[in-house]
Symmetry: C2
Subunit: 421 residues, 2 copies
């Protein structure tokens, strides 16, 4: 039986979940993996308030309890954020300790490729399965698909908060604010939800997944990111009538015109399996030349699901063996900025003659062809819904900007791409 001691940086929810799992199931883990794990030390700024959860594990508010501990061979970083996590990981690697992290912000930042390179130079492994989509083994699966052949596309539902809110608007007809409040009550959304609803959280995760698929470092700021802030129940109702549902998708796709890298709400056919992904669940749909299309669905967050992903990396590193080459060491050419899509556009106007003609003229002026048009009955603002044929994003956004300056238009228009799957 191999004995391996780990040190934990950060005793938040996931850190305490990990300590609990190892304390409760240590014997079973040893029997199933051949590895006896011991938590040798914990660094946490407020470790004194957490003594019960730490269950006798030596703890300190000085990180050297972990980093200078000669017994610790694997450091698990669960602090989150860029600092001090980056520096502490750098110290751990320099001290010859392998690293496991759940830190998506750090791995997707420029520090990510640097730390991965440092690990490789030290002949150490660096695991970050838990950084994306909790208990869904997407990092392992992508690496497996990438061993031979290549990933053609990734389409992920990577933010549980947004998917939960969309489900509540879609199934219960809640308005946006009520859906957000409910998500906050359930603990799925923060007091300040901006990071989730703006698409930034999904963007960090996509940068990591796309980085593996493209064998490169993909900076978050190279992704085009739109959130769900403008989506309303009426969009979901109209979508359903047309045979679609709306999901916030994180997309990386190889096209003949270059890499497409996007986070945005999208209309998808209601009979596609991604449309079945509801509530706070995460999902990743991957199409690769080696394995064909695959879908993985599961819990994207939570103390035990994330701790499970951390533990899977810990066991992998504890087994030892040849160190994997560092990911994210190449930098790809700029992703192309402009692609063709069919669009759903909801325009909110005064109820008066001539409005439709004005709007149709704007579309015509930008060479955008209208596939269908529909006016919802109801009070002002009148909701005009236009579905276009394929058009360039740049043309569409110019047309919408122009349209929103018309006197007849009362509120900003809502534009949703139609994603053909």
């Amino acid at each position: 039986m191999k004995e391996v001691s780990i040190g934990i940086l950060g005793a938040g929810n996931v850190g305490r979940g990990l300590i609990e799992l190892i304390a409760r199931d240590g014997e079973a883990i040893a029997a199933r993996t051949g590895i006896r794990l011991k938590v040798a030390a914990v660094f946490d700024r407020s470790y004194q308030k957490k003594s019960e959860a730490l269950a006798g594990v030596p703890a300190s508010d000085d990180p050297s309890i972990v980093l200078s501990n000669p017994d610790v061979s694997i450091v698990v970083e669960l602090l989150g954020g860029l600092s001090p996590a980056g520096d502490l990981i750098r110290s751990a690697l320099s001290a010859g300790k392998a690293v496991v992290t759940a830190n998506k912000a750090l791995v997707s930042s420029p520090a990510g490729p640097e730390l991965l390179k440092l690990a490789q130079d030290q002949n150490l492994n660096f695991g970050f399965e838990a950084a994306v989509a909790g208990a869904i083994p997407i990092i392992r699966t992508l690496r497996m698909h990438c061993v031979s052949g290549e990933v053609r596309s990734i389409r992920g539902i990577l933010n549980g908060t947004c998917n939960y809110m969309i489900t509540r608007m879609e199934e219960d007809g809640l308005d946006y604010d009520a859906a957000l409040r409910l998500a906050q009550e359930k603990g799925f959304a923060e007091a300040d939800p901006t990071f989730d609803v703006s698409g930034q959280d999904a963007a960090q995760k996509l940068a990591i997944l796309a980085g593996i698929a493209l064998d490169s470092y993909v900076p978050v700021d190279r992704l085009r990111v739109e959130g769900i802030e403008s989506i309303r129940p009426v969009d979901l109702k109209i979508a359903r009538r047309m045979g679609w549902v709306i999901r916030l998708l994180a997309i990386a796709r190889r096209t003949d015109a270059g890499e497409l890298l996007r986070v945005h709400p999208a209309m998808i056919q209601e009979d596609h399996i991604l449309a079945s992904v509801k509530e706070e669940r995460n999902a990743v749909f991957v199409d690769s030349t080696s394995a064909g299309p695959s879908l993985l669905v599961g819990k994207g967050a939570g103390s035990h699901p994330t701790a499970t992903a951390v533990l899977s990396d810990v066991i992998d590193l504890a087994r030892g063996g040849e160190v994997r080459p560092a990911l994210f060491q190449k930098t790809e050419p700029e992703a192309r900025a402009d692609f063709n899509y069919r669009f759903y556009v909801r325009v909110q106007t005064h109820d008066r003659p001539g409005v439709l003609a004005e709007i149709a003229t704007v579309f015509a002026d930008h060479d955008i062809s209208i596939a269908s048009f529909h006016q919802e009955e109801g009070p002002e603002p009148v909701q005009l819904v236009i579905v276009t044929h394929a058009a360039l994003e740049s043309a569409m956004f110019e047309a919408v900007a122009e349209m929103d300056r018309l006197r007849a238009v009362m509120l900003p228009s809502v534009v949703i791409r139609i994603e053909d799957l």
Copy 2:
């Protein structure tokens, strides 16, 4: 860069797919994994007819070309079946070579636990990711979920042939024979489809998955297995009207009354994500205490998807590291034989007075309570559809046997369990 030589037993579709992947992508594999793979030797009875696909790799119809080759450290067994695969793997392990196999029949047979034990005694790994559900990384995922906590249930769509046929009956209204012929034309079904449509193929796969989840050896003959042979388009049509779809499910579930281990067609709610799994796709829905509910969907068969799974095991073994303890070394107590279900029953009768009373009496005599009843319009045989409240399987099968002996009943009744998800 670590160089690892493999030997392949069996140059069928998957074997040739693997040789092709390694020849085409060897450089990329080395760059991504740090392992340079070489196919050192191939054993195949008709190797002479396959010289083009073997692309210069030394081949022979004598397995010692692989087993006695001192360069070969990993043997990949792709012959299928119990013999000679079992003996050849035994020889490989005795010669100190790690083993990767895609052989579900062998791993689920009593030779499975024996070979896994032999591997452990030799301090060698034994990989069989490719034995279940092709490119879906279900073995890895289950092992990850089982490291701590336990798997509460597995529900798999594990036979592509059956799922394809059900989809064609459901979506195109094809009758059973036409759906089967189409599956044969598409290469999804064998000339003799018995192994697939009877549920035996799914049963072998379930035995492996349940074995990992229950940490034990689960003999295939302990599973209760029913196939799709009696399913007709009318069942799918009626199911849909009731908000259900039919899938052939392989189920392992821990219950208070013991382990439930079954392969059978089941009605599932049409809005459950498993209902979205169509065509020849495979899927596994796992609920574990550590990770919550998860779903994996993908290609369950095919040369490249299976070769991808084989390759993922080869890389894992080539990396080296601590050998995992052998699976399947415990034997579980007998799974319980009888469980409560709600049932869908389609009875095919003459069109004459009194039939319904006779049938209702049989149900009453067996204490089975009817939840709904429906008679399809149409010529003889009249189709009576009964949905029951929860009843014991034993009572239901006795009732149906008795009912099918009534003079009024023209053809065997169709019984489908309703699986509450």
